[in-house]
Symmetry: C2
Subunit: 396 residues, 2 copies
């Protein structure tokens, strides 16, 4: 069974020892005893090396986020047993076999029947309960202030997601020479750069909820029965769409990578349909669950929509519709930005990297890049997730 160490992940942990069948937070000192795994942050970014230093304080924010998200979604967040800030050390639940990193499962072509149910539950609950839909301003501002301390990880995201792919950077790479011109086109696309500026501004300025901050398919461990979200070291108060988009965007990448994994034994056609259904269901279930939480707590202490004001069903419907439309467009935009950076930025995904034939890999990546550019530029024209799936089908 594969470990969780992804050769491309930006995860800043370092593996100092390893085991063939357990989850390893990439780049981590760890020990294992009695169902517990011990993680320790190292002072640099793993995939770059010691030349790119990174604060060990991210372990503090990871532990904080695990605990906070764990309060709201205990079924899908591993429990933290111990945190030592001086040592940057987290002791948490060991995710026993057969848990594997979702990205590995997607590459292997494995279907997870409960994935959409679980991940939509995780996203709806963690995002809802840490937002002003549920919280008072006092709770919210206190938490926002605390997570402002995770600024180094926010800066890293700003750089690798919203900046580097759109300029010449020593860290960028792509499947060369096939995609050289495509990468250049991204850097020369004024409309794309205009749109990414708006998203970056939202990422930097909008403290909508406590987001995971790196919710790609490498941050989710799965079995057929279990879905566990790990590695929230990038957590801070940011736009909800950044998490939902990260997950959906990485599913779209997984979709476009399938043709590179197809062979005479398995043409992957059935599996591609499963991924498309997973994209559609994830959004639809998230939508349903968020609205259900909102309805359930609408008379609570959430500051955003006071019950004395939003006091009739017609108005409640109106505000929810507008909120979800805006969130959908944010989700598509952020998802697209996360896709682009995985094709022309520093950190690539194993979905594509594991396609050994470079020209075939480039073909898959190019289609994903075209899809991402379409989503980023035209996201406001999409009214439903079915339209997104239709656009993916057209481009494949």
């Amino acid at each position: 069974m594969a470990t969780s160490i992804s050769s491309t992940s930006l995860s800043p942990w370092a593996a100092l020892s390893s085991s063939s069948s357990m989850y390893l937070d990439p780049s981590m000192s760890y020990g294992l005893a009695l169902g517990c795994v011990i993680l320790q942050a190292l002072p640099y970014i793993r995939c770059i090396g010691e030349s790119w230093p990174m604060t060990k304080e991210r372990a503090y924010f990871e532990a904080l986020a695990l605990r906070e998200h764990g309060r709201f979604s205990p079924e899908h967040v591993p429990e933290v047993y111990h945190f030592d800030r001086t040592m940057s050390l987290i002791g948490m639940r060991y995710l026993e076999p057969p848990h594997i990193i979702l990205r590995k499962g997607l590459i292997a072509g494995t279907e997870y029947p409960l994935l959409t149910e679980h991940i939509s539950e995780y996203m709806a609950r963690t995002l809802y309960f840490t937002s002003l839909l549920y919280r008072s301003t006092t709770e919210h501002k206190r938490a926002v202030a605390e997570f402002c301390g995770n600024v180094e990880l926010c800066r890293l995201t700003e750089q690798v997601v919203f900046s580097d792919p759109y300029k010449v950077s020593q860290y960028n790479r792509c499947t060369s020479p096939y995609l050289d011109r495509d990468a250049e086109a991204v850097r020369e696309d004024n409309v794309l750069k205009l749109e990414v500026a708006e998203l970056k501004s939202k990422f930097c300025e909008r403290s909508q909820a406590l987001i995971h901050g790196d919710l790609h398919t490498g941050s989710v461990m799965v079995t057929h029965e279990s879905t566990q979200v790990i590695d929230p070291e990038f957590a801070f108060y940011g736009p909800m769409g950044f998490d939902i988009g990260a997950f959906l965007g990485n599913l779209i990448l997984a979709f476009f990578a399938q043709d590179g994994h197809a062979n005479q034994v398995n043409d992957r056609k059935t599996y591609k349909e499963w991924i498309l259904r997973t994209i559609e269901e994830t959004w639809n279930l998230f939508h349903k669950k968020l609205i259900a939480l909102w309805d359930e707590h609408k008379d609570g202490s959430g500051e955003a929509y006071l019950p004395a004001i939003y006091n009739n069903p017609e108005l409640q419907r109106l505000v929810q519709k507008k909120f979800m439309e805006d969130l959908f467009h944010d989700t598509l935009g952020f998802g697209a930005a996360k896709m682009i950076r995985r094709i022309v930025g520093v950190a690539h995904v194993e979905d594509f990297e594991s396609i050994t034939d470079a020209s075939k890999r480039a073909e898959c990546e190019r289609r994903a890049l075209e899809m991402a550019k379409l989503l980023l530029k035209e996201r406001r024209k999409f009214q439903a997730i079915t339209e997104v799936v239709l656009a993916i089908r057209k481009l494949q």
Copy 2:
């Protein structure tokens, strides 16, 4: 000469002694010596009384904001000489006669030839230099976190600007019985409530720049040569449009109040034209100055638009155009919300309150309210400030 104590202001300071010709931060212990005024915060909201407690810590944020804004716009922010956090005590420059509160000048019908030049300079510089247009993420997040501490004042704004006017509240009042039905209509207007929710969300979540937080015409002291912005106790990292909107919205209120001040000696027609020119010039000069600062520092360390990405004149023009359009619409929305709350909320403005004939006052207020509702609902249709002025003319 009038003092600055406005009977309707929400300013939380208390005047414990007074003088006929000096500026008093409303509800303030103060002393005066050698060009210095001493202010001390009291633990409640002045216009309500001891029944509405309010943290004395607001003096800390007021002093911090005065110093921060003073760094960027020293000509228009009085210097802070001393701050004592334990005593909640600020020692700052005494604004000598003939400085008066701008709102008093607007009621008196006085023209200030340098006002638009000065206030646009103040807004452009304080907002630009505290935003990610100029700052790095590290500086920005540190400052955002600190001002999250001013949460009680933020909550007060959320309540009195974005909530109370749209629901039944013990603190609301209006020129009754004339405006009873109008106030009720505000509370029953679904579209208005939908729009105000979006603005409230921006106010609560978007840390765009260090805003004054209460930049109405009662927070500005003027002479013919000088413009000084005072009372930033509501300061925090919020949306730029909240400040610009507060100022323009209060000018629009001043405009609609003029008919109530007209008499046989002065029909106020010329003065109304001056206010309209002031509205138009304030935005236009602000626009020009913000863009000039942006152009001047475009190769600096501002995180929002990195020079290596936004690297051609066409793209630079595009991003600036989009930024200013969004800011214009935010400005109109927040300005409208600030107008509405002054007519049907807790804190009214002297512009209207000083019209002794209640039926005449109600007529003036009703026109201002209609203008505000139009602006709030249709703000995205306005492309230029001239169109706003045209709409004001139509409604007068």
